[in-house]
């Protein structure tokens, strides 16, 4: 035991039910008062995002926008921001990611990842030395949880109840996000934008790793709909992105650089 003992940074944890799921926060370090205030602001912000973007709420700005009652300019500025992010995701994925559902505007697919990423950034900006925000199984990591230890995220194995398919380590990365799309728990929920029906795919899960949750969340959704062959090729072509794909036939495939991220 000759190693010097370093104080572990203060830990602040919180779970918030919002946007039809639960957001879990794990925040390390920083000045406690400032970090707690930032957490409260981040949580308030998530509820505000839900109010503005929910397609389940008749009176949300998105619902009103869809009905043509208001214009994008009359919405909160975040609406234009999110729609632009969605449009870019659609371009990059050649239409496999879409912010339209049954012909109507529905940015739900990009809002959650974007909101979690922003919540994490808010906490880091307030001085936290490590931030983990898990929004319904999609995780944004910033900084480190403690001295000499990176954030580590387990990836559920959809075909082996009780085991993890992989552990992703954020070692060496100041920001890393891990998003998984799949059919594991609630059946098919990913729509093929070309047919409007549930995506026909040989995959049961796609996990995408990259710096920002907004994008990896969208890429996981798109790749899942593409299927293993096209999905893997496409993910391999994206810069700063690694991925793990699990097929219904229990084949595990990953991008060439994923091994660097396995912990």
């Amino acid at each position: 035991m000759s190693e010097p003992v370093e104080d572990a940074p203060q830990e602040l944890r919180h779970a918030e039910e919002v946007m039809g799921t639960v957001f879990s926060f794990d925040v390390r370090g920083g000045e406690p008062g400032a970090v707690r205030t930032a957490l409260e602001e981040a949580v308030t912000r998530l509820h505000r995002v839900d109010e503005v973007f929910s397609t389940y709420r008749e009176d949300s700005q998105i619902s009103r926008l869809v009905r043509g009652e208001i214009t994008v300019e009359e919405c909160d500025p975040e609406v234009a921001e999110v729609l632009e992010l969605g449009a870019e995701a659609e371009r990059v994925s050649d239409g496999w990611f879409s912010t339209r559902y049954e012909g109507r505007l529905d940015p739900t697919g990009i809002v959650k990842g974007w909101a979690a990423e922003h919540a994490a950034q808010r906490l880091a900006a307030a001085g936290a030395s490590g931030v983990s925000v898990n929004g319904g199984g999609d995780v944004q990591l910033l900084g480190v949880p403690g001295p000499h230890r990176p954030w580590r995220v387990g990836v559920s194995d959809p075909l082996r109840p009780g085991t993890l398919a992989a552990v992703i380590s954020a070692a060496g990365a100041d920001e890393l996000a891990v998003a998984t799309s799949g059919t594991a728990e609630r059946g098919a929920h990913i729509v093929d934008p070309r047919t409007g029906r549930s995506a026909v795919t040989d995959l049961v899960a796609v996990t995408v790793v990259g710096p920002r949750l907004t994008w990896v969340d969208a890429w996981a959704t798109a790749a899942f709909a593409m299927g293993s062959r096209a999905g893997l090729d496409w993910l391999e072509s994206l810069p700063d992105v690694e991925a793990l794909l699990i097929t219904a036939g229990d084949e595990v495939r990953c991008t060439g650089g994923l091994a660097r991220r396995l912990g």
């Binding site: 779970a15 085991t163 398919a165 728990e185 595990v252 495939r253 991008t255």
Partner: protein, 170 residues
């Protein structure tokens, strides 16, 4: 070893093969360190869902050996205690988690309340809840901070688990 050999050998393994091997190795290496009595327990958790698990005071749903696992309140086994988390509302119904700790480590975790209103719920829970339970145990040994790829019910599970951990002072 070749201490002076600074160049890394160029690896020319086909991507597909490397990927498959990596995945396989991971699956092997990530088997959780199984604590006492996990395997059989997990298979019976889902089934218990029809039997109103919240009412069976003392026993966790998977205590198949009857009685002996009912350590909840009054067990005198050293340093062992049971903590029940908050009931967390999810879109599909309430989820509540109970954990057993020994010497500050989780030795058991179980969902004592979870959605079971319809066959689909029961089907999901029959594998999701045991999976999450074992992930909790695996997470300790794998030292992971979070899990990607689980939604809704599992979030409720995590949230309730977290409140149990908070109550236990972990």
């Amino acid at each position: 070893m070749h201490a002076l050999k600074k160049n890394r050998p160029l690896r020319r393994v086909t991507l597909a093969a490397a990927a498959t091997v990596t995945g396989f190795v991971l699956l092997l290496s990530l088997k959780p360190h199984t604590p006492p009595a996990p395997a059989e327990a997990s298979s019976s958790v889902g089934r218990s869902s029809t039997a109103a698990p919240g009412d069976s005071s003392g026993n966790t749903p998977e205590s198949d050996s009857g009685g002996s696992a009912g350590t909840s309140g009054g067990s005198k086994s050293t340093g062992s205690k049971t903590v029940t988390g908050d009931t967390v509302q999810t879109r599909w119904g309430p989820v509540q988690v109970r954990i057993t700790l020994k010497d500050g480590r989780i030795t058991e975790s179980a969902a004592v309340v979870y959605p079971s209103d319809n066959p689909r719920d029961q089907e999901i829970n029959s594998y999701a809840i045991p999976q999450l339970r074992r992930e909790t145990l695996a997470a300790q040994s794998a030292r992971i901070d979070s899990v990607s790829g689980a939604t809704y019910t599992s979030d409720g599970y995590r949230q309730s688990l977290q409140s149990a951990l908070d109550s236990a002072g972990l």
